[in-house]
Symmetry: C2
Subunit: 602 residues, 2 copies
């Protein structure tokens, strides 16, 4: 393509709307254009990158025997009501766009396709002989993000590959899940990215196990904890570890103490000269289920630990049945207003005891609101501990479960793993922290959707049982931007060769110089004929402008038809290293062809 015939506009200054390097660069280099909040146009360069990423994804998916299809973006609300996710997605999380058609029927814009594909499976799969089956699509998806940002990283309209597999049993699911692990690793490797698969929380998608594929980058929104032996890596939301050992408590007899101004663990430790590992901290949450039921939750945890709210949310979801609900709609620390509604008298924040219920929330039971006590594993084993006295300015010391306080019935693991914690698989390893951009997520869904939606098949024994499902997603547009976030310098983007919009750019320093232009045109047609995707910068611009633009847009190889033409050579500059060399005209095509092939297939 000739630059003179393209919509080619670059910016010298960073656009005000962009926060992270990749977003700034994609805007400056004319790859994308903002049309609305979280909504971007993919201009021709970007579209070429996205097509290349899509093609790599497609090839790896096809190689596993999965088949491509395209499901509708408009989805009737009935399907989402059947699976029980309509309310969660349109209201609680509110991340699904909903609309009404001219008949006032409710529709949504697909953020994901479990409901649609399960409906198709329900209608078309009858027998175990049709299994396993794996369908995927590459499609624009929609999420009404609370805070769209970072360009394509967290947009409201984005491109995803999503695949859904159907199986007769867990063993077959596990095999496809493992195949997907390999396929996803291949896709990312072939796209030229440094990445790490990590254990992940399954969130609103649900299911029994999942892994995320994280592209490592400082601007990543996710924190990953991993061990250096390569044996463990998890999203911090999901990570587990061994807590530090608790110190033996110096308080051997039970006593109530005046502890003024000790609302925080730190102040309390200073005041009592004790370790945070000797304290039972009691944290209040308020959960709301999909049937409207509000539950006040008190979590008792060891003083040096923090509550991982994703884990807590999962525990509360497991308890939904108990409150007549199906899912938890929201979880938060109750604000002042909520607290005043809850408590019969003002809550002694910072001084709450594990049994706050009796004293402070007696009224709640009359209101048919529920109170739930949970204790984290770290707090169970403590002896002679310090904890709140349910009275502002007072704590108790030397307390023990089953003596002064009933041990809550439900013991959970809701503690947040932290960098520096010892690893469970090998306590000699400590957890390290890294930032990552989630570009892939694979799930073992099990029968969550097939059961809810009645998608069954007849097994070999002639019984009708629910289909076992898996689902697998790749953020295609996010992956493309993640590549930039991982690979740029002060001059611009450095595309991995496999997903660069073009392989080569020929910069003609002076287009009024007939010799330069002629050499460039000849190379341009030779390179194109050899299947090397080439740009010709034939604009009437200064050489300096052309070189700056070539660096900014990040094409792997730049050919300059300049002074060295006198000796029958051109300058070839590698974008990543800025290394320059002179190559004889008749060797340019073969040299570049070989380098590009090596780069793409390495």
């Amino acid at each position: 393509m000739r630059l003179s015939q393209m919509l080619f506009v670059t910016l010298r200054e960073d656009p005000a709307e962009a926060e992270i390097p990749s977003h700034k660069l994609l805007l400056r280099a004319g790859y994308i254009r903002r049309i609305g909040s979280g909504i971007y146009a993919y201009l021709p360069f970007m579209w070429r990158v996205l097509q290349k990423v899509s093609q790599i994804v497609r090839e790896e998916m096809n190689a596993t025997g999965a088949q491509e299809c395209l499901l509708p973006q408009l989805q009737p609300s009935e399907l989402w009501r059947e699976s029980g996710r309509w309310d969660t997605y349109t209201q609680a999380e509110g991340i699904m766009f909903a609309l009404k058609d001219r008949q006032e029927r409710e529709l949504s814009l697909g953020p994901t396709h479990e409901e649609v594909i399960t409906t198709i499976a329900k209608e078309m799969i009858r027998s175990y002989r049709q299994l396993p089956l794996h369908l995927y699509q590459i499609q624009t998806k929609f999420r009404d993000e609370i805070r769209p940002r970072f360009g394509l990283m967290r947009g409201r309209e984005f491109i995803m590959k999503d695949g859904y597999s159907f199986h007769a049993d867990e063993e077959s699911l596990k095999k496809t899940y493992d195949d997907m692990h390999k396929a996803y690793s291949n896709m990312l490797r072939r796209s030229g990215l440094a990445f790490r698969p990590v254990q992940a929380d399954s969130g609103a998608i649900g299911g029994s196990g999942s892994q995320e594929f994280m592209v490592l980058a400082e601007a990543g929104e996710d924190e990953v904890l991993y061990t250096e032996d390569g044996e463990y890596a998890a999203n911090v939301e999901k990570a587990v570890s061994l807590p530090a050992d608790a110190k033996t408590s110096p308080f051997t007899s039970y006593e109530k103490r005046e502890t003024p101004g000790t609302e925080t663990i730190e102040k309390l430790c200073q005041f009592l000269k004790c370790s945070p590992t000797q304290i039972v901290k009691n944290v209040l949450y308020q959960g709301v289920y999909d049937n409207g039921m509000t539950v006040l939750v008190l979590v008792s945890i060891r003083g040096d630990q923090e509550v991982n709210e994703v884990k807590l949310q999962n525990e509360l979801t497991k308890l939904a049945d108990r409150y007549g609900g199906k899912t938890l709609l929201s979880l938060k620390v109750p604000d002042a207003e909520a607290q005043s509604k809850w408590a019969a008298k003002s809550l002694p924040l910072g001084y709450i005891a594990p049994d706050i219920a009796d004293d402070y929330i007696a009224d709640q039971k009359q209101l048919d609101r529920k109170f739930l006590r949970l204790v984290d594993k770290t707090a169970v084993e403590l002896k002679n501990f310090v904890t709140g006295a349910n009275e502002s300015g007072y704590h108790v010391i030397g307390a023990n479960w089953k003596e002064q306080f009933q041990l809550p019935e439900i013991v959970v693991d809701v503690r947040k793993a932290r960098p520096g914690d010892r690893a469970i698989h090998n306590p000699a390893q400590t957890l390290q922290s890294a930032r990552g951009i989630e570009v892939g997520h694979i799930f073992q869904l099990g029968i969550k959707y097939s059961k809810a939606m009645g998608a069954t098949y007849t097994n070999e024994q002639g019984e009708e049982v629910p289909l076992v499902m898996g689902c697998y997603g790749v953020g295609v547009s996010r992956l493309a931007q993640a590549a930039v976030e991982q690979s740029y310098d002060k001059d611009g983007i450095i595309w991995p060769v496999a997903i660069a919009p073009y392989h080569v750019i020929i910069s003609v320093p002076n287009i009024s110089d007939g010799e330069q232009l002629q050499a460039a045109e000849k190379l341009y047609s030779q390179l194109n004929e050899a299947g090397i995707e080439t740009l010709l910068d034939d604009r009437n611009e200064r050489a300096g402008v052309k070189f700056k633009d070539a660096d900014l847009i990040g094409i792997p190889y730049r050919i300059v038809t300049g002074k060295s033409l006198k000796s029958g050579k051109v300058e070839v500059v590698e974008r990543a290293s800025h290394k320059s060399e002179e190559i004889p005209l008749d060797e340019v095509v073969s040299t570049l062809k070989q380098r590009i092939e090596v780069a793409i297939h390495k």
Copy 2:
């Protein structure tokens, strides 16, 4: 691909939801699945067809120098308000889905992208040196159709290629428009379709000229009028012709006559023993402009002619200025209720005179509603004509313009051309009628959008002037179904080779016969290696079922590894002709490769 590993389910019976053959066949053969009204999933076979059509479209577009991009489907309402189309699209026609995000900002789902692309052009194009420029995309689009039907023909979610070109002047636009005419003809020819380009109305898109590409098929929703010399073809909405000559009126003196029970032209002619060409028929319409202004329109036209409402709509749109509006929102024959509101006394329907205004709608002027009289060319030249007397049961005869009736100021051509009319370019040719499926539409938009949205560039003279635009659409999913509508038989689909999901299907009559299976497997891998897209029907089914399925899904060549194996041959059946021949095993690949190449490139 092995059928045993696909989601392959065919139906023996026609599904109740489908009306036309192509819709029935795509459902029966498992190409598509209905998810909601006008909403379909494209299953793997269909997706392969759509990808092939898309690739042909892409190649033809790229060959003209147009560049592919992808614009957002979510479009901020502000853009549509700028162009002045928000109300027309969301309310009057109501064909655009609108929704609100979590911030209560209005968005629409793109049915077309003039607004988005013009915004980009406005921001990025500064100078004539950047022109001409042509961007296109292949994308899912949305229309909230009043009556979604015929499967992919008129869906609410469908795939389109839409392209937009920008020019410094009309001459450059005309060149690209001509290039598109050629590119579209190539696309349809290469896809194996019989089609006809026709003159078309530009509708809500606007602009100065447009052509539609019609795939000829009985189930087509459009009527095309054409001449056999190939010199003229137009959508009936747009078609022009010479009306038959009027007969000389026998009524040489003016007189009011009692004509009871003559509300129709036919009855009136019988009663008065005259020709319909001697009558001035007066038809009432009610138009509403975007500023809320309602106008009562009386159209006088020769009695043997019908009003073409699309032409009338265009005339009224031209008059929008006069009523302080920008566009016409709706046009209809006023219903009984509207008439009673309009008329000071009950309207003498069937007996209305060209000057109904004075007598019946005197009150309207007080209501600040407007009355407009239009006369069609066919009525202007009439002498001594018959027309209504503005009194039920009475007509006048021997009337003349400027004597008994004022000739309306505005003379228009709003008559409907009909099969049998004489052609304007050559009165010896008469118009023929055919049904067509509109799969492409190309427009010369001119400066309609660039002017409304302030998209200007600096021309060679240094003046800032609006960009001249064109736009060009192909219904990719509609085209794919149109191919089926044009090519099927009682046994199923007959795909044109170029867009068939696979080229060859190998049907193994009996998979427990080792020799059959072995020969089939060998051919399967040889064909795939030769780049021939091949299905292997390795299901444990009866041969008859396999042959029926192969015919239904319409794969161009079927190989049967049956009895002829004994003599080292297989049976090869051509789907279109059902012709069967025996081909030696070692000639199958080369024979088919050659036939497929000929079929694709013819």
